[in-house]
Amino acid sequence: MMGSIVTRYLRRSVVRAVPFGLAAFAALTLTACDSHQNAVPKAGSPELVARGRYLAQAADCAACHTAAGGAPFAGGVKLESQFGTFYGSNITPDRNYGIGKWSADEFYSALHDGKAPKGKLYPAMPYTSYRQMSRDDSDAIFAYLTTQKPAAVPNIEADLKLPYNVRFAVRFWDMLFVKDALPDASTGQSADWTRGRYLANALGHCTECHTPRGAFGQLQDGKTLQGGTLGRIGAPDITPAGLAARGWTGADLQAFFSTGVATQGSAFSEMHPVIYLSTQHLGSNDLRALATYLLGDAPPAPAPLAVKTSNAVQLAAGRNLYLDSCAGCHGREGEGKPHVAVAMKGNSTLRQDDARNLIVSMLDGIEAQQFVGVERMEPMPAFAATYSDEQIAQLTNYLRATWGGQPGDVTAAAVKSLR
Protein backbone atom coordinates (compact mmCIF):
# COMPACT_ATOMS: atom_id res chain seq x y z
CA MET A 1 0.00 0.00 0.00
CA MET A 2 2.91 2.26 -0.69
CA GLY A 3 0.73 4.72 -2.51
CA SER A 4 -1.34 5.49 0.51
CA ILE A 5 1.64 7.16 2.06
CA VAL A 6 1.20 10.12 -0.02
CA THR A 7 -2.15 11.40 0.20
CA ARG A 8 -3.20 14.76 1.28
CA TYR A 9 -6.30 13.94 3.24
CA LEU A 10 -5.46 16.87 5.36
CA ARG A 11 -7.50 18.49 8.01
CA ARG A 12 -6.05 21.65 9.28
CA SER A 13 -6.52 22.11 12.95
CA VAL A 14 -4.60 25.31 13.17
CA VAL A 15 -5.87 28.71 12.18
CA ARG A 16 -3.17 30.54 10.36
CA ALA A 17 -1.45 33.77 11.15
CA VAL A 18 -3.11 36.76 9.62
CA PRO A 19 -0.70 39.15 7.93
CA PHE A 20 -2.81 42.29 7.78
CA GLY A 21 0.09 44.59 7.12
CA LEU A 22 1.48 42.39 4.41
CA ALA A 23 -1.86 42.38 2.66
CA ALA A 24 -2.06 46.12 2.39
CA PHE A 25 1.56 46.42 1.34
CA ALA A 26 1.20 43.73 -1.27
CA ALA A 27 -1.82 45.44 -2.77
CA LEU A 28 0.26 48.54 -3.29
CA THR A 29 3.36 46.93 -4.63
CA LEU A 30 2.27 43.92 -6.54
CA THR A 31 -0.30 45.02 -9.03
CA ALA A 32 2.51 45.57 -11.47
CA CYS A 33 3.11 41.82 -11.45
CA ASP A 34 -0.36 41.03 -12.64
CA SER A 35 0.44 40.66 -16.27
CA HIS A 36 0.20 37.78 -18.65
CA GLN A 37 3.69 38.26 -19.98
CA ASN A 38 6.12 38.84 -17.19
CA ALA A 39 9.54 40.01 -18.25
CA VAL A 40 12.14 38.20 -16.18
CA PRO A 41 13.67 40.68 -13.74
CA LYS A 42 17.34 40.57 -12.83
CA ALA A 43 18.48 38.13 -10.19
CA GLY A 44 18.04 39.41 -6.67
CA SER A 45 16.46 42.66 -7.85
CA PRO A 46 13.60 44.23 -5.89
CA GLU A 47 11.36 43.51 -8.90
CA LEU A 48 12.20 39.82 -8.73
CA VAL A 49 11.56 39.70 -4.99
CA ALA A 50 8.25 41.54 -5.39
CA ARG A 51 7.23 39.14 -8.13
CA GLY A 52 8.28 36.23 -5.93
CA ARG A 53 6.11 37.53 -3.11
CA TYR A 54 3.12 37.77 -5.42
CA LEU A 55 3.71 34.25 -6.68
CA ALA A 56 4.22 32.87 -3.16
CA GLN A 57 0.84 34.34 -2.26
CA ALA A 58 -0.76 32.96 -5.41
CA ALA A 59 0.71 29.54 -4.54
CA ASP A 60 -0.50 29.92 -0.93
CA CYS A 61 2.82 28.80 0.57
CA ALA A 62 1.90 30.41 3.90
CA ALA A 63 -1.12 28.15 4.35
CA CYS A 64 1.13 25.24 5.27
CA HIS A 65 4.42 26.97 6.07
CA THR A 66 3.32 29.76 8.45
CA ALA A 67 1.80 28.57 11.72
CA ALA A 68 -0.61 30.68 13.75
CA GLY A 69 1.51 32.89 15.97
CA GLY A 70 4.70 31.55 14.39
CA ALA A 71 7.35 33.33 12.36
CA PRO A 72 6.50 33.73 8.66
CA PHE A 73 7.40 30.58 6.69
CA ALA A 74 8.96 28.91 9.73
CA GLY A 75 6.66 25.90 9.36
CA GLY A 76 4.91 23.94 12.07
CA VAL A 77 1.39 23.98 10.65
CA LYS A 78 -0.22 20.69 11.56
CA LEU A 79 -1.74 18.79 8.67
CA GLU A 80 -3.75 15.79 9.69
CA SER A 81 -4.44 12.93 7.34
CA GLN A 82 -5.76 9.43 7.61
CA PHE A 83 -2.19 8.24 7.21
CA GLY A 84 -0.78 10.28 10.03
CA THR A 85 0.20 13.85 10.77
CA PHE A 86 2.39 16.05 8.61
CA TYR A 87 3.87 19.39 9.59
CA GLY A 88 4.64 22.24 7.23
CA SER A 89 8.40 22.70 7.07
CA ASN A 90 10.61 25.70 7.74
CA ILE A 91 11.25 27.48 4.42
CA THR A 92 12.93 30.57 5.84
CA PRO A 93 16.59 31.09 4.81
CA ASP A 94 17.85 29.69 8.12
CA ARG A 95 20.94 27.66 7.29
CA ASN A 96 20.30 24.87 9.77
CA TYR A 97 16.56 24.45 9.85
CA GLY A 98 15.36 26.25 6.75
CA ILE A 99 16.40 26.39 3.12
CA GLY A 100 19.36 28.70 3.66
CA LYS A 101 21.81 26.26 2.10
CA TRP A 102 19.61 25.43 -0.86
CA SER A 103 20.32 26.53 -4.41
CA ALA A 104 17.66 27.75 -6.82
CA ASP A 105 18.09 24.41 -8.62
CA GLU A 106 17.32 22.50 -5.45
CA PHE A 107 14.30 24.68 -4.74
CA TYR A 108 12.97 24.02 -8.22
CA SER A 109 13.57 20.30 -7.72
CA ALA A 110 11.48 20.40 -4.51
CA LEU A 111 8.59 22.11 -6.31
CA HIS A 112 8.90 20.06 -9.46
CA ASP A 113 9.81 16.58 -8.24
CA GLY A 114 9.27 16.65 -4.50
CA LYS A 115 13.01 16.15 -3.97
CA ALA A 116 14.76 18.09 -1.24
CA PRO A 117 18.53 18.02 -0.64
CA LYS A 118 17.96 15.86 2.44
CA GLY A 119 15.59 13.43 0.75
CA LYS A 120 12.19 12.76 -0.73
CA LEU A 121 9.26 14.94 0.26
CA TYR A 122 5.85 13.50 0.97
CA PRO A 123 3.16 14.69 -1.43
CA ALA A 124 1.57 16.64 1.43
CA MET A 125 3.80 19.12 -0.36
CA PRO A 126 1.69 19.49 -3.52
CA TYR A 127 4.44 18.98 -6.09
CA THR A 128 1.83 17.11 -8.13
CA SER A 129 0.57 20.64 -8.85
CA TYR A 130 3.67 22.77 -8.39
CA ARG A 131 5.53 20.75 -11.01
CA GLN A 132 3.58 22.75 -13.60
CA MET A 133 5.32 25.89 -12.35
CA SER A 134 7.82 27.60 -14.66
CA ARG A 135 11.47 27.77 -13.71
CA ASP A 136 11.30 31.57 -13.75
CA ASP A 137 8.47 31.58 -11.25
CA SER A 138 10.23 29.04 -9.04
CA ASP A 139 13.33 31.25 -9.06
CA ALA A 140 11.27 34.33 -8.17
CA ILE A 141 9.64 32.59 -5.19
CA PHE A 142 13.07 31.34 -4.10
CA ALA A 143 14.46 34.88 -4.37
CA TYR A 144 11.59 36.17 -2.25
CA LEU A 145 12.00 33.50 0.40
CA THR A 146 15.71 34.22 0.70
CA THR A 147 14.82 37.80 1.71
CA GLN A 148 12.75 36.56 4.63
CA LYS A 149 14.08 36.65 8.17
CA PRO A 150 15.80 33.34 9.01
CA ALA A 151 13.97 31.53 11.80
CA ALA A 152 15.87 28.92 13.81
CA VAL A 153 12.80 26.76 14.20
CA PRO A 154 13.42 23.00 13.93
CA ASN A 155 11.18 20.99 11.62
CA ILE A 156 8.75 18.53 13.12
CA GLU A 157 9.04 15.08 11.61
CA ALA A 158 5.85 13.65 10.16
CA ASP A 159 4.18 11.26 12.54
CA LEU A 160 2.93 8.54 10.22
CA LYS A 161 1.52 5.14 10.85
CA LEU A 162 3.22 2.06 9.47
CA PRO A 163 3.77 1.42 6.61
CA TYR A 164 3.27 4.98 5.43
CA ASN A 165 6.45 6.19 7.06
CA VAL A 166 8.64 4.47 4.47
CA ARG A 167 9.84 7.46 2.53
CA PHE A 168 11.45 5.72 -0.42
CA ALA A 169 8.09 4.19 -1.31
CA VAL A 170 6.93 7.65 -2.29
CA ARG A 171 9.07 7.28 -5.41
CA PHE A 172 6.90 4.44 -6.65
CA TRP A 173 3.84 6.55 -6.01
CA ASP A 174 5.42 9.36 -8.00
CA MET A 175 6.07 7.01 -10.92
CA LEU A 176 2.45 5.95 -10.93
CA PHE A 177 0.62 9.14 -10.18
CA VAL A 178 2.68 12.26 -10.78
CA LYS A 179 1.92 13.64 -14.24
CA ASP A 180 3.45 16.47 -16.18
CA ALA A 181 0.07 18.05 -16.88
CA LEU A 182 -3.15 18.10 -14.91
CA PRO A 183 -6.43 17.45 -16.74
CA ASP A 184 -8.80 20.35 -17.36
CA ALA A 185 -12.42 20.42 -16.28
CA SER A 186 -13.22 23.32 -18.59
CA THR A 187 -12.41 24.12 -22.21
CA GLY A 188 -10.86 27.26 -23.58
CA GLN A 189 -7.97 28.72 -25.52
CA SER A 190 -8.08 32.41 -24.68
CA ALA A 191 -5.14 34.13 -23.01
CA ASP A 192 -7.24 34.46 -19.84
CA TRP A 193 -8.08 30.78 -19.83
CA THR A 194 -4.45 29.80 -20.33
CA ARG A 195 -3.25 32.12 -17.57
CA GLY A 196 -6.09 30.90 -15.35
CA ARG A 197 -5.03 27.30 -15.88
CA TYR A 198 -1.54 28.20 -14.70
CA LEU A 199 -2.91 30.06 -11.68
CA ALA A 200 -5.25 27.24 -10.71
CA ASN A 201 -2.94 24.30 -11.40
CA ALA A 202 0.68 25.40 -11.04
CA LEU A 203 0.17 27.96 -8.27
CA GLY A 204 -3.19 27.72 -6.51
CA HIS A 205 -3.16 23.88 -6.48
CA CYS A 206 -6.99 23.83 -6.42
CA THR A 207 -7.06 20.23 -7.53
CA GLU A 208 -5.38 18.99 -4.36
CA CYS A 209 -8.58 19.57 -2.39
CA HIS A 210 -11.27 19.78 -5.08
CA THR A 211 -10.51 16.56 -6.96
CA PRO A 212 -11.58 13.30 -5.35
CA ARG A 213 -8.80 10.92 -4.34
CA GLY A 214 -8.43 7.26 -5.19
CA ALA A 215 -7.53 4.39 -2.88
CA PHE A 216 -3.84 5.34 -3.01
CA GLY A 217 -4.50 8.96 -2.25
CA GLN A 218 -3.97 9.85 -5.89
CA LEU A 219 -5.98 12.43 -7.81
CA GLN A 220 -8.67 10.75 -9.87
CA ASP A 221 -8.10 11.88 -13.43
CA GLY A 222 -11.61 11.41 -14.75
CA LYS A 223 -13.09 13.41 -11.90
CA THR A 224 -11.01 16.56 -11.98
CA LEU A 225 -12.40 19.29 -9.69
CA GLN A 226 -15.63 17.37 -9.11
CA GLY A 227 -15.30 17.75 -5.35
CA GLY A 228 -13.09 16.18 -2.70
CA THR A 229 -13.63 15.07 0.87
CA LEU A 230 -10.34 15.83 2.56
CA GLY A 231 -11.82 17.10 5.75
CA ARG A 232 -15.07 17.18 7.64
CA ILE A 233 -16.25 19.88 5.25
CA GLY A 234 -15.97 18.59 1.70
CA ALA A 235 -14.42 20.71 -1.07
CA PRO A 236 -17.31 21.36 -3.50
CA ASP A 237 -17.53 20.53 -7.19
CA ILE A 238 -15.91 23.43 -9.05
CA THR A 239 -16.29 22.16 -12.60
CA PRO A 240 -18.14 24.56 -14.94
CA ALA A 241 -21.30 22.45 -14.64
CA GLY A 242 -20.97 22.16 -10.88
CA LEU A 243 -20.47 25.89 -10.39
CA ALA A 244 -23.28 26.86 -12.77
CA ALA A 245 -25.68 24.45 -11.05
CA ARG A 246 -25.12 26.42 -7.85
CA GLY A 247 -25.60 29.77 -9.57
CA TRP A 248 -21.98 30.93 -9.87
CA THR A 249 -20.95 33.38 -12.61
CA GLY A 250 -17.50 34.68 -13.44
CA ALA A 251 -18.26 37.96 -11.67
CA ASP A 252 -19.35 36.06 -8.54
CA LEU A 253 -16.17 34.01 -8.54
CA GLN A 254 -14.01 37.11 -8.87
CA ALA A 255 -15.84 38.75 -5.97
CA PHE A 256 -15.42 35.57 -3.92
CA PHE A 257 -11.69 35.25 -4.61
CA SER A 258 -10.96 38.89 -3.96
CA THR A 259 -13.11 39.44 -0.86
CA GLY A 260 -14.19 36.03 0.44
CA VAL A 261 -17.85 36.99 0.11
CA ALA A 262 -20.25 36.61 -2.83
CA THR A 263 -24.01 36.44 -3.21
CA GLN A 264 -23.62 32.65 -2.93
CA GLY A 265 -22.09 32.88 0.54
CA SER A 266 -18.77 33.43 2.27
CA ALA A 267 -15.66 31.28 2.42
CA PHE A 268 -15.56 28.97 5.41
CA SER A 269 -13.65 25.94 6.62
CA GLU A 270 -10.43 25.38 4.66
CA MET A 271 -11.37 27.78 1.88
CA HIS A 272 -11.27 30.73 4.25
CA PRO A 273 -7.47 30.79 4.64
CA VAL A 274 -7.12 30.24 0.89
CA ILE A 275 -8.94 33.52 0.32
CA TYR A 276 -7.26 35.27 3.19
CA LEU A 277 -3.69 34.23 2.55
CA SER A 278 -3.77 33.80 -1.20
CA THR A 279 -6.49 34.81 -3.64
CA GLN A 280 -7.30 38.22 -2.14
CA HIS A 281 -3.83 39.28 -3.24
CA LEU A 282 -4.37 38.43 -6.90
CA GLY A 283 -4.55 41.34 -9.32
CA SER A 284 -7.72 41.96 -11.28
CA ASN A 285 -6.37 40.36 -14.45
CA ASP A 286 -5.46 37.22 -12.60
CA LEU A 287 -8.81 37.11 -10.81
CA ARG A 288 -10.56 37.31 -14.17
CA ALA A 289 -8.23 34.64 -15.57
CA LEU A 290 -8.90 32.28 -12.69
CA ALA A 291 -12.66 32.67 -13.07
CA THR A 292 -12.32 32.17 -16.82
CA TYR A 293 -10.39 28.94 -16.37
CA LEU A 294 -12.87 27.53 -13.87
CA LEU A 295 -15.94 28.26 -16.01
CA GLY A 296 -14.29 27.95 -19.45
CA ASP A 297 -14.24 30.36 -22.37
CA ALA A 298 -17.96 29.72 -22.92
CA PRO A 299 -19.33 29.65 -19.36
CA PRO A 300 -22.56 27.70 -18.81
CA ALA A 301 -25.52 29.87 -17.77
CA PRO A 302 -26.05 29.92 -14.00
CA ALA A 303 -28.99 27.71 -13.08
CA PRO A 304 -32.02 29.64 -11.79
CA LEU A 305 -33.05 28.81 -8.27
CA ALA A 306 -35.91 26.33 -8.22
CA VAL A 307 -38.19 25.81 -5.22
CA LYS A 308 -38.72 22.14 -4.50
CA THR A 309 -41.94 20.90 -3.03
CA SER A 310 -41.49 18.53 -0.16
CA ASN A 311 -43.30 16.96 2.74
CA ALA A 312 -45.42 19.83 4.12
CA VAL A 313 -45.27 18.67 7.73
CA GLN A 314 -41.49 18.38 7.56
CA LEU A 315 -41.17 21.79 5.96
CA ALA A 316 -43.39 23.43 8.57
CA ALA A 317 -41.36 21.86 11.37
CA GLY A 318 -38.16 23.01 9.69
CA ARG A 319 -39.54 26.52 9.24
CA ASN A 320 -40.34 26.72 12.96
CA LEU A 321 -36.84 25.63 13.88
CA TYR A 322 -35.42 28.12 11.40
CA LEU A 323 -37.41 30.96 13.02
CA ASP A 324 -36.34 29.76 16.47
CA SER A 325 -32.62 29.62 15.96
CA CYS A 326 -31.54 30.85 12.53
CA ALA A 327 -33.69 33.76 11.40
CA GLY A 328 -32.16 36.14 13.96
CA CYS A 329 -29.01 36.28 11.84
CA HIS A 330 -29.88 34.73 8.48
CA GLY A 331 -33.15 36.68 8.10
CA ARG A 332 -36.77 35.60 8.18
CA GLU A 333 -36.79 35.05 4.44
CA GLY A 334 -33.21 33.87 4.23
CA GLU A 335 -31.93 37.24 3.11
CA GLY A 336 -28.99 37.26 5.52
CA LYS A 337 -27.60 40.20 7.46
CA PRO A 338 -24.62 42.20 6.21
CA HIS A 339 -21.43 41.66 8.25
CA VAL A 340 -23.23 39.16 10.48
CA ALA A 341 -24.40 36.13 8.51
CA VAL A 342 -24.71 35.14 4.86
CA ALA A 343 -27.97 34.80 2.95
CA MET A 344 -29.52 31.36 2.80
CA LYS A 345 -31.47 32.13 -0.35
CA GLY A 346 -29.34 30.90 -3.23
CA ASN A 347 -26.51 29.91 -0.90
CA SER A 348 -23.99 27.68 -2.63
CA THR A 349 -23.84 25.19 0.23
CA LEU A 350 -27.62 24.75 0.23
CA ARG A 351 -27.50 24.09 -3.50
CA GLN A 352 -24.93 21.29 -3.26
CA ASP A 353 -26.30 17.87 -4.20
CA ASP A 354 -24.66 16.46 -1.08
CA ALA A 355 -26.14 17.89 2.13
CA ARG A 356 -23.01 17.02 4.11
CA ASN A 357 -21.50 20.50 4.36
CA LEU A 358 -24.81 22.06 5.38
CA ILE A 359 -25.41 19.48 8.09
CA VAL A 360 -21.84 19.68 9.42
CA SER A 361 -22.02 23.48 9.53
CA MET A 362 -25.13 23.30 11.69
CA LEU A 363 -23.73 20.59 13.95
CA ASP A 364 -20.27 22.13 14.43
CA GLY A 365 -20.91 25.84 13.93
CA ILE A 366 -18.48 28.17 12.16
CA GLU A 367 -15.94 30.44 13.82
CA ALA A 368 -16.12 34.20 13.47
CA GLN A 369 -14.26 35.12 10.32
CA GLN A 370 -12.35 38.18 9.23
CA PHE A 371 -12.48 38.93 5.55
CA VAL A 372 -10.75 41.46 3.36
CA GLY A 373 -10.81 45.03 4.67
CA VAL A 374 -13.32 45.53 7.46
CA GLU A 375 -15.65 42.75 6.34
CA ARG A 376 -16.33 40.02 8.84
CA MET A 377 -18.96 37.45 9.72
CA GLU A 378 -20.12 36.68 13.24
CA PRO A 379 -19.61 33.21 14.70
CA MET A 380 -22.28 30.62 13.98
CA PRO A 381 -23.12 28.56 17.08
CA ALA A 382 -22.93 24.77 17.01
CA PHE A 383 -26.35 23.16 17.27
CA ALA A 384 -25.27 19.57 17.87
CA ALA A 385 -26.27 19.75 21.53
CA THR A 386 -29.40 21.86 20.92
CA TYR A 387 -31.21 19.80 18.33
CA SER A 388 -31.89 16.12 17.72
CA ASP A 389 -31.00 14.28 14.52
CA GLU A 390 -34.64 14.53 13.49
CA GLN A 391 -34.69 18.29 14.04
CA ILE A 392 -31.44 18.88 12.16
CA ALA A 393 -32.86 16.81 9.30
CA GLN A 394 -36.02 18.93 9.30
CA LEU A 395 -33.96 22.11 9.21
CA THR A 396 -31.76 20.71 6.45
CA ASN A 397 -34.75 19.75 4.34
CA TYR A 398 -36.46 23.09 4.87
CA LEU A 399 -33.32 25.00 3.88
CA ARG A 400 -32.51 22.85 0.85
CA ALA A 401 -36.05 22.73 -0.52
CA THR A 402 -36.82 26.39 0.10
CA TRP A 403 -33.59 28.09 -0.85
CA GLY A 404 -31.36 25.46 -2.42
CA GLY A 405 -33.52 23.88 -5.12
CA GLN A 406 -32.67 20.49 -3.64
CA PRO A 407 -35.00 17.68 -2.56
CA GLY A 408 -35.95 17.57 1.12
CA ASP A 409 -35.00 13.94 1.54
CA VAL A 410 -32.31 14.03 4.23
CA THR A 411 -32.98 11.52 7.00
CA ALA A 412 -32.23 11.63 10.71
CA ALA A 413 -29.91 8.67 10.14
CA ALA A 414 -27.88 10.75 7.67
CA VAL A 415 -27.48 13.45 10.33
CA LYS A 416 -26.53 10.88 12.96
CA SER A 417 -23.77 9.52 10.76
CA LEU A 418 -22.16 12.98 10.68
CA ARG A 419 -22.14 13.58 14.42
Binding site: N320, D324, S325
Partner: protein, 129 residues
Protein backbone atom coordinates in the same frame (compact mmCIF):
# COMPACT_ATOMS: atom_id res chain seq x y z
CA UNK B 1 -31.69 34.60 29.78
CA UNK B 2 -31.38 31.56 32.01
CA UNK B 3 -33.03 28.30 30.96
CA UNK B 4 -33.54 25.76 33.74
CA UNK B 5 -33.11 22.15 32.77
CA UNK B 6 -35.28 19.37 34.12
CA UNK B 7 -32.21 17.82 35.77
CA UNK B 8 -31.51 20.73 38.11
CA UNK B 9 -28.96 22.38 35.82
CA UNK B 10 -29.20 25.88 34.41
CA UNK B 11 -27.66 27.49 31.34
CA UNK B 12 -27.42 30.85 29.64
CA UNK B 13 -29.16 31.12 26.29
CA UNK B 14 -28.83 34.14 24.03
CA UNK B 15 -32.05 35.96 23.25
CA UNK B 16 -30.57 37.94 20.37
CA UNK B 17 -30.35 34.94 18.06
CA UNK B 18 -33.13 32.75 19.42
CA UNK B 19 -36.76 33.55 18.63
CA UNK B 20 -39.38 33.58 21.40
CA UNK B 21 -40.80 30.32 20.07
CA UNK B 22 -37.50 28.63 20.88
CA UNK B 23 -38.31 29.07 24.57
CA UNK B 24 -41.83 27.67 24.28
CA UNK B 25 -42.30 25.01 26.98
CA UNK B 26 -39.01 25.80 28.71
CA UNK B 27 -38.52 27.22 32.22
CA UNK B 28 -36.82 30.57 31.89
CA UNK B 29 -35.54 33.31 34.18
CA UNK B 30 -34.93 36.82 32.94
CA UNK B 31 -33.16 39.67 34.75
CA UNK B 32 -36.53 40.98 35.93
CA UNK B 33 -37.13 37.81 37.91
CA UNK B 34 -34.01 37.68 40.09
CA UNK B 35 -34.83 40.07 42.95
CA UNK B 36 -37.69 39.44 45.37
CA UNK B 37 -40.66 41.74 44.95
CA UNK B 38 -43.68 42.58 47.08
CA UNK B 39 -47.30 42.45 45.96
CA UNK B 40 -46.91 45.91 44.37
CA UNK B 41 -44.05 44.70 42.23
CA UNK B 42 -41.50 46.68 44.20
CA UNK B 43 -38.07 45.17 44.76
CA UNK B 44 -37.63 44.22 48.43
CA UNK B 45 -34.53 42.03 48.33
CA UNK B 46 -31.68 41.65 45.86
CA UNK B 47 -29.97 38.37 45.12
CA UNK B 48 -26.43 37.88 46.51
CA UNK B 49 -25.11 38.37 42.98
CA UNK B 50 -26.86 41.70 42.50
CA UNK B 51 -25.86 42.81 45.99
CA UNK B 52 -22.18 41.97 45.48
CA UNK B 53 -22.08 43.74 42.12
CA UNK B 54 -23.45 46.87 43.82
CA UNK B 55 -20.93 46.62 46.66
CA UNK B 56 -18.08 46.37 44.18
CA UNK B 57 -19.47 49.18 41.99
CA UNK B 58 -19.44 46.73 39.07
CA UNK B 59 -22.37 48.24 37.20
CA UNK B 60 -21.65 51.26 35.10
CA UNK B 61 -23.87 52.16 32.14
CA UNK B 62 -26.09 49.13 32.70
CA UNK B 63 -26.15 47.78 29.17
CA UNK B 64 -24.36 44.55 29.98
CA UNK B 65 -25.86 44.15 33.45
CA UNK B 66 -28.46 41.45 32.65
CA UNK B 67 -25.87 39.27 30.96
CA UNK B 68 -23.36 39.48 33.78
CA UNK B 69 -25.98 38.85 36.46
CA UNK B 70 -27.36 35.85 34.57
CA UNK B 71 -23.94 34.43 33.80
CA UNK B 72 -22.76 34.78 37.38
CA UNK B 73 -25.97 33.25 38.71
CA UNK B 74 -25.54 30.27 36.39
CA UNK B 75 -21.89 29.98 37.45
CA UNK B 76 -22.73 29.94 41.17
CA UNK B 77 -25.44 27.35 40.61
CA UNK B 78 -22.96 25.20 38.74
CA UNK B 79 -20.35 25.54 41.49
CA UNK B 80 -22.94 24.46 44.08
CA UNK B 81 -23.29 21.21 42.13
CA UNK B 82 -19.62 20.91 41.21
CA UNK B 83 -17.30 22.86 43.55
CA UNK B 84 -14.06 24.05 42.03
CA UNK B 85 -10.50 23.67 43.31
CA UNK B 86 -9.10 26.83 44.85
CA UNK B 87 -6.39 27.21 42.22
CA UNK B 88 -8.98 26.96 39.46
CA UNK B 89 -11.22 29.79 40.65
CA UNK B 90 -9.78 32.49 38.44
CA UNK B 91 -9.78 30.36 35.30
CA UNK B 92 -13.32 29.23 36.05
CA UNK B 93 -14.58 32.79 36.37
CA UNK B 94 -12.79 33.75 33.18
CA UNK B 95 -14.33 30.85 31.27
CA UNK B 96 -17.80 31.57 32.60
CA UNK B 97 -17.82 35.30 31.87
CA UNK B 98 -15.48 35.58 28.93
CA UNK B 99 -18.21 35.87 26.29
CA UNK B 100 -19.73 38.89 28.01
CA UNK B 101 -18.69 42.30 26.84
CA UNK B 102 -18.57 45.50 28.90
CA UNK B 103 -17.70 48.58 26.91
CA UNK B 104 -17.29 50.71 30.04
CA UNK B 105 -14.32 48.44 30.86
CA UNK B 106 -15.84 47.33 34.13
CA UNK B 107 -14.31 43.88 33.86
CA UNK B 108 -12.06 44.19 36.90
CA UNK B 109 -14.94 45.11 39.19
CA UNK B 110 -17.15 42.39 37.82
CA UNK B 111 -14.31 39.95 38.22
CA UNK B 112 -13.56 40.98 41.80
CA UNK B 113 -17.22 40.78 42.75
CA UNK B 114 -17.58 37.29 41.32
CA UNK B 115 -14.40 36.11 43.02
CA UNK B 116 -15.66 37.56 46.31
CA UNK B 117 -18.94 35.66 45.84
CA UNK B 118 -17.24 32.36 45.05
CA UNK B 119 -14.99 32.65 48.10
CA UNK B 120 -17.61 33.91 50.54
CA UNK B 121 -20.52 31.63 49.69
CA UNK B 122 -20.13 28.26 51.41
CA UNK B 123 -19.66 25.08 49.41
CA UNK B 124 -18.42 26.46 46.12
CA UNK B 125 -14.72 25.71 46.62
CA UNK B 126 -13.11 22.36 47.31
CA UNK B 127 -11.12 23.12 50.46
CA UNK B 128 -9.16 19.88 50.31
CA UNK B 129 -7.57 21.05 47.11
Amino acid sequence: MIVDGTDGTSEEVRTCINGAHFFDGKNVRTIEGHAKRNEHGEVVELTPVQQKFLEHFSFQCGYCTPGFVNATTVLLEKLKREPVARDQIEATIMAALNDHICRCTGYVRYYEAVKDLVLSMPGLVKDAA
